[in-house]
Amino acid sequence: MTAPTAPAASPAVTGEMPRIRMSKSRRNAELGLLIFAMALITAYAATVEATMLDAVTPDFWIPAALVSMVFLGLHIVIRFLAPYADPALVPAVALINGLGVGFLRRIDMARADAADRANFPIFAGDGGRQLAWTLLAAIMAAGLLIIVRDHRIVSRYAYTLGLVGIVLVMIPAVLPSRYSEINGAKLWILIGGFSIQPGEFAKLALVSFFAYYLVRKREVLSLASRRFLGIDFPRGRDLGPVVAVWLLSLLVLVFEKDLGTALLYFGMFVVILYVATERVSWLIIGLLLFFGGATLAYSLGASVGGPFANFYDRVQIWQDPFADPYDAGFQPVQSLLGLGTGGLFGAGPGGGQPTKVPDVEDDFIFAGLGEEIGLFGLSAFLVLYLLIVERGLRAGIAVRDSFGKLLAGGLAFTLGLQVFVIVGGVSGLIPLTGQTTPFLSAGGSSLMANWLIIAMLLRISDAAGRPMTGSASAQGDGPAGPPVKLHGAPTEVIRS
C-alpha cells in the first residue's frame, strides 16, 4: 500500500476547514430535555390508565419514574464521560424508549383480565421485561462510554469485529429452523426460552469494520476508475468487497428469509462506501445490484420456489394484502386497518384496540401506536427518529477523523434505514419484513444493540464537540501538522 494511511485519518485529506467549535458543554440542555421527555412519558401512562381503567391508579407513575431514573443515571454518566456529546440524542431516544415501555404495558393490560388490569404488576409482561431491558441497555450504553474513551480505539479491533459481525449474521442461517425461525424469518438464536437476535449486534460490528476497511481502501476505490456515461466507475477488481457484501446480503435474504435485514446490510455498506469514496457511481452500482438481486429472487421465487418462495409471497401480499385478508394478508391488513382507524388524531392512548394486530408488541408496534396517537402522533415519532439520525450524521460531519466520520455516518444511516424498512413495511409502503422498530419493539437484543449505537454516536459527537487542547489546538494554524501523529496511532497497530 503506497498511500500512507496516517493522513487518511487526518482532516486535512478530507479537505475540511477546521470548524469553530462550541466548546460549551450542553449537559444542562440535555437534562432539561430529558425531564421534559419523562414528563411526557408519565403523562402518557396517566392517560392510558384514565382511558382503560376509568381511573388513574395511585402508582401509575412508577414505571415512568423507573425509566426516568435509568436515563437520569445515563445522563450523569455522560456528564462525566462525554461532556461535549450531542445533548438532543439521549432525550429523543429516551422519549421513544419510555413511550415504548408505556405502550407495551398498555398492551399487557389489554391482554389481562379486566379485573386484574388496575393492579397489573410493574415487572410483569412485555412492558415489565422491556423496563428491565431498558435498564440493561442503559447500563451497556454507559459501559461502552466507560470502556471506549476514544472511538478510534474501535478501529484497532476492526478485523475482529468484522469477523464477529459475519458470524453473528450467519449463525441463524446455519442453525436448524427450530433454533432460529420465528414467523418465517430465520433471524434468531432460540435457546431455552431465550431469544437473541444476533443480527442487531452485528450491525454495530459490521459498520465498525466497513468504516475501518474503507478508510484504508478509499483512495484506491476512488481514484482508479473508468469513465462511462459521464460517471466514474471503479475497476473490476476493486468491486470485490461490494460484491462480497452483496452476496452476503443475498444469502441473508435467501437463508434467513428476510428482505429487511438484507436491505439493511447492503444499504449500510453502500452508503459507507459512498461516503468514503465520494463517488456517486457506488450508489448506482449498489442500487442496481440490490434491485437486480431482489428481482432475481422474486422471479426465482415465482418459478423455482424453495428458499426464494418466502420473498415472493411477501411481495405478493404487499401488492394486495386484501386478497387474502384472513390468512396470508392478515397481519398487514390488520395493521392498515389499525392505522386507518386511528386516522388523524388517533383513538387516544388506551382508547384503541391495538391487540387486534398480531405481533403488535414487536414488528407491528408502530401500527398499534398509530391507532391510538394517530397521524399526528406518528409524525412526531418520525420527527424524533429523523432528529436522532440527522444528529448522528452531524456528529460524523463535525468529527475530525475519517474513521469517526464513516462510523457515525454508517451507524446513523443504518438506524434511519431500519426505521424506514419497518415503518414502510407496516404501513404498506414496501413489502413487509421482520425488523424491530428501534427503541420501541419489545425485545432486549434490539434495544441493547440500538443503545450501543447511540452510545457510540454520543462518543463520536463528544469527540467532535470537545474543545481542542494541547497539540490539537495547533490544528487551527497548520492543517496537516501534529494531528498526523495523534491519528496515526491506532492504525499503526493494525498495520503491524
Binding site: G338, G370, L378, I397, G416
Partner: protein
C-alpha cells in the same frame, strides 16, 4: 467526506418523507375506508361500547340495546320480534345491516355529525355518549291490523304486503311484509349462530327476508286503471264521457282477446269512464289506453312515480330503505314502433307493468291529497341521547301528477268503486272511502295476485291511503285485500290518524 454525509442526510430525509406521505395516505385519505372495512373488527367493538339508540313508536321501543357482560357490551333486541322486522331491519355483528338500522346507523350509533355536540360535551364529563333515538311515523294499531289482516287472509295467500301512508304528509302509518321473521337471532353476539339463523331464513319458503313493500315488484292488474283514468281525465275526457267497452276486445294488430272478469261486467258497447272504473271494465280500459297512446300512459305513470330508481323511504333529510322502481315496460315493438296489443294489456296493468305496494299506496294517496304527491317517510323525529328533539320530519311534496280538479274527479270515481263496485269490503262507517281493486295474472299460475289501493277521507280531508297485496291467493284475493285495506285504515282512524 462531509458532502456525501450531508447527502446521506438528505436521503434519510427523503425516505422519511416517503414514510410521512404514505402515512398520510393510510391514515388520512384511506382512513374512512379502512375504519369502515368489513375486515375491521375494531369499530365493531367500539360501536358496541355505547348504547345504541332506541327506535320507537308512540313511546314504545321497537329496537333497543341491552347491557350484557360479554366483550360486546350491548345486545340489540327487538321486543316486537317479527312485527316490525321489515321496517327496522337488523344490526348484526358480522352480517350486513338492513332497514332503518342501516339507514340511520350513524345517528343510532352516536357517530353522526348531528350528535357532535353531545360527543364534545362527553369528552369533559367522561360519560360514554349513547346513540340518538329514532321515532318512526308508524301507527302501532295500523301495523297490528296490517299484520293480522295479512296473516288471517281467507284466500290462502302466504305472501303479501300492506302499507299505509298519510296522504297529506307522506308519513308511513303501516308497513308489513308477509311472511316476516324474528330479527333477534340475527343480531346474536354468537356470530356463528347469527349466520346460521340468516342462512336458514335465506332458504326458508316464501323468502321471509324479502321486503315485499318496497323491494319486490309485481303486475298491478286493474289498480293501474287509475293511472289510465288520470291520463284520460287530463286529456279532456270527463267521468261521464262514454268510452267503448264490450264483452271482448282484440287489439288492432294481434294478440289474444281481452275479456272482462265476469260476463256481467260492461257487456254494452259503451260505458261512462266512471262506470268503467267502478266495475273494473277491462275492455273499456284496454281500448282507452290504445286510444290515448303509450306515451301518455307512460308519462302519467312516470308522474305518479313509476321509473323512479332513486326513491328511498326513511328520513326525509337523508337515506332510507331503497324503493325498487315500478315499471311500465317499453310498450313498444322491438323495432320501436307502436304495439297496440301490448298497450292494451299494459292498460289493464298486465304485460310488463310492475309495481311495488308502496307505489300503489302513493297513487291512492296522491288522488286523496288533491293531486299532490308527497314523499313517503318513516322517520318522524330524531331525538338526542337526552331526548331533546334534533330534527322533525317536514313533509316534502314531490310533484303534482294531476290537477286538483282531476284528483277530485278520480276521488269520486274511486269512492263509487268502494260504495257500489268491486271494493265494497273496504267501507268504513262514517267515513268516505275510495279505492280500486286489482287481480293480476302473473305467468301461468292459476292463482292471481289480489291488490287493493284506497284511501279514507273525513269531510274531504284525507286520513290514510293504503295498498294491500295478496300474492297467489285463491279466487277473491282483491276483495280480501280491500277488506284488509279497510281494516288498516280503520285502525289508523282509531289511533287518531289524520289529525
Amino acid at each position: 467526506m462531509n458532502g456525501p454525509l450531508r447527502r446521506a442526510g438528505v436521503v434519510v430525509m427523503i425516505l422519511f418523507g416517503l414514510l410521512f406521505a404514505n402515512l398520510n395516505w393510510v391514515q388520512g385519505y384511506k382512513a374512512d375506508e379502512y375504519r369502515n372495512s368489513d375486515f375491521n373488527a375494531r369499530v365493531q367493538v367500539a360501536e358496541y361500547e355505547r348504547a345504541r339508540g332506541v327506535i320507537e313508536v308512540g313511546g314504545r321501543a321497537l329496537a333497543e340495546s341491552k347491557l350484557t357482560t360479554g366483550e360486546l357490551k350491548y345486545l340489540r333486541t327487538y321486543p316486537f320480534k317479527s312485527q316490525f322486522a321489515h321496517v327496522l331491519g337488523y344490526k348484526p355483528v358480522n352480517l350486513a345491516a338492513t332497514g332503518i338500522e342501516k339507514a340511520e346507523n350513524e345517528f343510532l350509533a352516536g357517530t353522526s355529525d348531528r350528535l357532535f355536540g353531545d360527543r364534545f360535551r362527553d369528552m369533559f364529563t367522561g360519560e360514554e355518549t349513547a346513540g340518538g333515538n329514532v321515532v318512526l311515523s308508524l301507527s302501532l294499531r295500523a301495523q297490528d291490523a296490517a299484520i293480522k289482516g295479512l296473516a288471517g287472509n281467507d284466500v290462502d295467500s302466504t305472501r303479501g304486503a300492506a302499507v299505509a301512508i298519510n296522504p297529506k304528509t307522506g308519513a308511513v302509518q303501516a308497513f308489513a311484509s308477509m311472511p316476516s321473521f324474528d330479527p333477534n337471532p340475527l343480531v346474536s353476539h354468537d356470530t356463528n349462530a347469527a349466520e346460521a339463523a340468516y342462512n336458514q331464513l335465506e332458504k326458508a319458503k316464501d323468502g321471509p327476508l324479502k321486503n315485499r313493500v318496497v323491494g319486490e315488484v309485481l303486475p298491478p292488474g286493474s289498480t293501474f286503471k287509475v293511472i289510465d283514468a288520470a291520463a284520460a281525465l287530463e286529456s279532456g275526457i270527463t267521468p261521464q264521457t262514454n268510452i267503448p267497452a264490450g264483452p271482448t276486445y282484440t287489439a288492432p294488430t294481434s294478440g289474444t282477446p281481452i275479456r272482462n272478469a265476469a260476463a256481467s261486467i260492461c257487456p254494452e258497447s259503451q260505458v261512462t269512464l266512471a262506470e268503467a272504473l267502478r266495475e273494473s271494465c277491462n275492455t273499456g280500459f284496454a281500448q282507452l289506453a290504445v286510444e290515448l297512446g303509450a306515451a301518455k300512459i307512460k308519462e302519467k305513470a312516470r308522474a305518479f312515480g313509476f321509473e323512479d330508481e332513486s326513491l328511498t323511504v326513511g328520513n326525509l333529510d337523508g337515506s332510507g330503505l331503497p324503493v325498487a322502481a315500478s315499471r311500465t315496460g317499453t310498450i313498444q315493438n322491438p323495432d320501436g314502433g307502436d304495439d297496440p296489443a301490448a298497450l292494451a294489456q299494459s292498460g289493464i296493468g298486465q304485460n310488463n307493468v310492475r309495481m311495488t305496494p308502496l307505489q300503489g299506496a302513493m297513487i291512492a294517496a296522491t288522488v286523496a291529497n288533491g293531486g299532490e304527491r308527497m314523499r313517503p317517510y318513516l322517520v318522524q323525529q330524531l331525538l338526542g341521547p337526552d331526548r331533546r328533539t334534533i330534527s322533525t320530519a317536514s313533509p316534502k311534496k314531490i310533484n303534482n301528477p294531476i290537477s286538483a280538479t282531476v284528483a277530485g274527479q278520480l276521488q269520486d270515481m274511486m269512492v263509487s268503486v268502494v260504495e257500489g263496485g268491486t271494493g265494497r269490503n273496504a267501507r268504513i262507517n262514517g267515513y268516505t272511502v275510495g279505492g280500486k281493486t286489482g287481480t293480476a295474472q302473473d305467468g301461468n299460475d292459476p292463482n292471481d295476485h289480489g291488490w287493493f289501493i284506497g284511501f279514507v277521507l273525513k269531510d274531504g280531508e284525507p286520513i290514510s291511503a293504503v295498498c294491500v297485496l295478496l300474492e297467489r291467493g285463491a279466487a277473491g284475493g282483491s276483495a280480501e285485500a280491500a277488506k284488509i285495506g279497510g281494516d288498516i285504515m280503520e285502525a289508523v282512524i282509531a289511533d287518531g290518524g289524520g289529525n
